[in-house]
């Protein structure tokens, strides 16, 4: 029998996890050296979060 899995994440947690996983995948695919990968992952993660939070704030005035 397969155990049921379940997660309850906030919007920010889900966005951060998504951004982290996609950044890691892109980093591994597009860069060869470990140091380049780490730099790419950090930069990509930062941009994901910055743009995500930025879009969130931009939509805030229209949320009510």
């Amino acid at each position: 029998m397969i155990a049921t899995i379940g997660f309850t994440l906030s919007h920010f947690q889900a966005m951060t996890l998504f951004a982290l996983l996609i950044s890691v995948a892109f980093g591994f695919l597009s860069r060869r050296r470990t140091s380049d990968r780490v730099k790419y992952i950090i930069w990509s993660l930062f941009l994901f979060l910055l743009i995500g939070v930025g879009i969130g704030w931009a939509m805030y005035p229209f949320s009510r």
Binding site: I5, F7, L9, A14, I22, V24
Partner: protein
Amino acid sequence: MSEDTTTGTATATAGATVLAATTPEHNPGNEVLALAIGVAGWLVPGLGHALQKMWGRALGCFLTVGALVFLGVGMRGNVFSPEGGDAFGMLGYVADLGTGSFYFAARALETQGSDVAHAEGDYGTRFLAAAGVLNLLAALHAYEAARGRKA
């Protein structure tokens, strides 16, 4: 001057011929192998890179695609089936199928069905679709690497 141009052209043509003969993408055997590697990478995330001994990329693809699928199912995202009906359902199915064998694992794991009425379920649907598209990108990368175009 025209002699120089002729000589230059002849040299360039000879060079191009030698290059075409030695470049991996012009070998039909390599092309079939590259295609097989691409399909393997699609079926099992990371396998296309593992077959080329790109262990870091293989592990990275396997873990990230696996984690996205696991989280997507855990958040009760929608695992689309071919009987979706509308165009968006079909697109979702194609995206989900991009995870290869993980698609069937996702269907088996999601015993309670999807719950897109809540934000988690909606996020889960995106996680699953992103996993599929990401795996297709990785399989294409493995295919191109096998053809000698990128590494």
